[in-house]
């Protein structure tokens, strides 16, 4: 018999090994679950890694209060189905308490404000390992991040002081107050994610597939019109057939024109895509070449 795994099976096995190391070595892990495709895959892998036990840790959602309703419904359905605990870190509540100030200038987003709520939920929950669905192919700063990514007691990432990561011998040793972000999908690409979704039959929120939506064209991106994204005076609203390639807060996530109504059609589009996932759809990464690096240093996902 041919003793070689397919690339998807090899990636899956690697991710499962990572998740099991964390479950074995950390006291209080948690899994960040936004309802997006990467976190859906991450959650699926966590279920497989812990099987036949239910996942022994809670899932955490940092909710900006400006999310797509389809995604929130999907999140709740998935959590109910798995019977796991959902911890919601609400950005809106932090604003209401006066912990942070909402940026209400035109074109602003609550994306960066999530860092505060994320760090607070980690501190309040005493989480020492937090799984995230980030991938190294997403962005240049992410390409240099470890699978076990150390965070100091302020939740900060120090790109130049990272621990070397050799073979699959992960070092998660830390002091009280410090924590690790764990990225089991580090070596997956957008295409791998879609192929795996197809292989495993993983469910996703409907907005990942082509649907009609009222949009405006802004900075050459299509922004869905909704309660938090109203057209500006000079913008014309029109209906388009679109899907989302990434799903974040409504204010910083753009749609792409698409006719892909199922996973196979999305895979075909992904193979042919000429613009990166974040470049096509994230208004937050367009400020500078180092936008992600700066947010990450502060403690962002």
């Amino acid at each position: 018999m041919e003793a070689l795994l397919t690339h998807l099976d090899a990636l899956e096995s690697e991710s499962i090994q990572i998740i099991r190391e964390v479950v074995a070595e950390f006291e209080r892990p948690a899994l960040l679950f936004s309802g997006g495709k990467d976190s859906a895959v991450l959650l699926h892998l966590a279920v497989k890694a812990c099987w036949p036990q239910p996942i022994p840790f809670p899932v955490v959602h940092v909710d900006t209060g400006q999310n797509f309703e389809e995604v929130i419904a999907f999140r709740d359905a998935r959590v109910r189905e798995l019977g796991c605990r959902l911890v919601i870190a609400s950005v809106q509540e932090a604003i209401d308490r006066g912990d942070i100030t909402d940026d209400v200038s035109p074109g602003s987003s609550r994306n960066r404000l999530q860092t505060h709520s994320l760090l607070k939920v980690i501190e309040d929950g005493n989480f020492d390992a937090v799984f995230g669905g980030a991938r190294r192919d997403e962005e240049k700063a992410r390409a240099k991040e470890r699978v076990f990514s150390f965070r100091d007691e302020f939740g900060q990432w120090n790109p130049r002081g990272q621990r070397p990561e050799i073979w699959n011998l992960f070092n998660g040793r830390h002091r009280k107050g410090e924590h690790f972000r764990i990225f089991p999908l580090s070596n997956w690409t957008e295409l791998d994610i879609w192929q795996y979704i197809g292989q495993e039959g993983i469910e996703l929120p409907s907005i990942y597939f082509a649907h009609r939506r009222r949009v405006v064209r802004r900075d050459n991106m299509l922004i869905g019109v909704g309660p938090f994204t109203q057209p500006r005076s000079d913008e014309e609203t029109f209906e388009a057939l679109v899907r989302y390639r990434t799903v974040g807060d409504m204010t910083c996530t753009a749609a792409v024109e698409s006719e892909a109504i199922d996973v196979e059609m999305v895979i075909n589009e992904t193979v042919l895509a000429r613009v990166s996932e974040r470049g096509a759809t994230r208004t937050d990464d367009r400020f500078s070449d180092a936008a992600m690096e700066d947010r990450k240093r502060e403690g962002y996902f």
Partner: protein, 418 residues
């Protein structure tokens, strides 16, 4: 589709980033917005051409200083294979990055500047690849455009390298003349270098045989965690989760558990997708055994007729990664497969010159980025195979018990003779 992991190494000016940029660009893995951003930066700096190296330099300090600081991972795929590139910087002080990036690689790609030929850096990178037992080495003789695509220069370098590498014990070395800047022999075959009839770099990466790179001879299963669901329907369920580290493990096989030395049989090998009849590396599975034994994380399951070495007195080669030098008497935490033990360094036996692989038996300490032989005594015995036989059960890391920082990558060579 298969997965090939490779590491690249080269000096600062060998054009390594350009080569990776070229591989990604010519295989259509660079998106337009990424290319536009690089083109803009190139234009602002006054470069004559689009500097593809900028595609891979991710951190601000790297762009400002035009260097690569850390291991960066890149991804691309062709219809035949998916590739993971560990892109490691070439500076002398970054041996640790080279070791880190190569540790999981199936193949190492070394770049040589056709003008300068084999340098200290070339030798260092090839030596580290040999030390880490990377099965395949590719020597890309780059910048052939700057030596007039001269075949004699290519042959000269190839002969010089093969003379040096004769003592490295590399399983397989492939030489390819390329121009990363102009794209010759990177993805498509060069029209100018018609004297070269081998594959282009990408063709080689797509075709190189990797099926036998895992150890398929010695059954090894380090237990990652014990699975006991305690639910009503799975009340008596007890399974052992882990990743196969060697050999084939089959349902019904008699197995030996270390350290207890109890024997039993494999009752089931399963995953959420269903039961398996057998498993091989690097599959992650749950194993159940016939008897109710006391097995915990860190135990090793093997077969009675094929057992690993078991000892507390270990000989190893380490790459030292901390600022303060390693000397005899140093106490550390050691992680091997799925277990942590404490260890004390008994002796620094020799330092290896990474340019020549010659041993300096007079050395009594290892400085940052040094590679050398040590002996260790551990609080509990390790169950291991020599690294050259099994990269998973033969490797370990050392961690400083105060700072928790990883200070060494180690490869076990054997048991210290009494």
């Amino acid at each position: 589709m298969e997965l090939l992991r490779f590491a690249t190494a080269g000096s600062v000016d060998d054009g390594k980033s350009t080569l990776i940029g070229r591989l990604l660009y010519d295989s259509k893995q660079i998106f337009e917005d990424q290319f536009d951003s690089v083109a803009r930066t190139s234009a602002e700096r006054g470069d004559e051409y689009v500097d593809l190296a900028l595609l891979t330099d991710g951190l601000r300090a790297e762009r400002e200083q035009g260097i690569t600081i850390d291991v960066a991972y890149r991804y691309f795929a062709t219809p035949k294979r998916k590739f993971i590139i560990a892109d490691t910087p070439g500076h002398i002080q970054h041996t640790r990055n080279m070791v880190t990036g190569s540790s999981t690689a199936d193949l190492v790609l070394v770049l040589v500047d056709a003008r300068s030929g084999i340098t200290e850096q070339t030798r260092r990178h090839a030596s580290i690849a040999a030390l880490l037992r990377i099965p395949h080495l590719v020597v890309c003789i780059n910048k052939m455009d700057l030596v007039g695509f001269d075949q004699r220069r290519y042959i000269e370098i190839r002969e010089e390298f093969s003379e040096f590498s004769a003592n490295l014990g590399m399983k397989e070395i492939t030489y390819i003349p390329i121009s990363a800047l102009e794209g010759d022999n990177v993805v498509a075959s060069s029209r100018v270098m018609d004297w070269y009839d081998g594959p282009s770099l990408l063709e080689h990466l797509e075709e190189v045989e990797i099926v036998s790179d895992h150890n398929l001879e010695d059954p090894r299963f380090p237990v990652q965690r014990v699975v006991r669901p305690h639910s009503n329907d799975l009340h008596d369920y007890r399974g052992y989760a882990g990743q196969i580290a060697g050999g084939f493990m089959k349902v019904g096989d008699e197995v030996l558990v270390l350290p207890s030395r109890q024997t039993t049989r494999i009752q089931a090998l399963e995953t959420m997708d269903g039961p398996l009849l057998q498993a091989f590396p690097p599959m992650s599975v749950v194993m159940r055994v016939e008897d109710d034994l006391d097995i915990s994380r860190g135990d090793l399951i093997c077969t009675p007729e094929n057992q690993p070495l078991v000892s507390q007195e270990l000989a190893a080669v380490v790459c030292w990664m901390a600022d303060a030098p390693l000397r005899a008497g140093r106490r550390v935490a050691l992680k091997h497969t799925t277990r942590w033990v404490r260890a004390v360094v008994q002796e620094v036996q020799f330092k290896r010159d990474v340019n020549t692989l010659l041993r300096d038996a007079e050395a009594s300490e290892l400085a940052l980025n040094d590679i050398g032989g040590i002996t260790l005594k551990t609080t509990e015995p390790l169950f291991f195979d020599p690294y050259q036989r099994n990269r998973t059960t033969g490797s370990f890391i050392l961690v400083d018990e105060n700072s928790n920082v990883t200070v060494a990558a180690g490869m076990l060579t054997g048991v210290v003779p009494q």
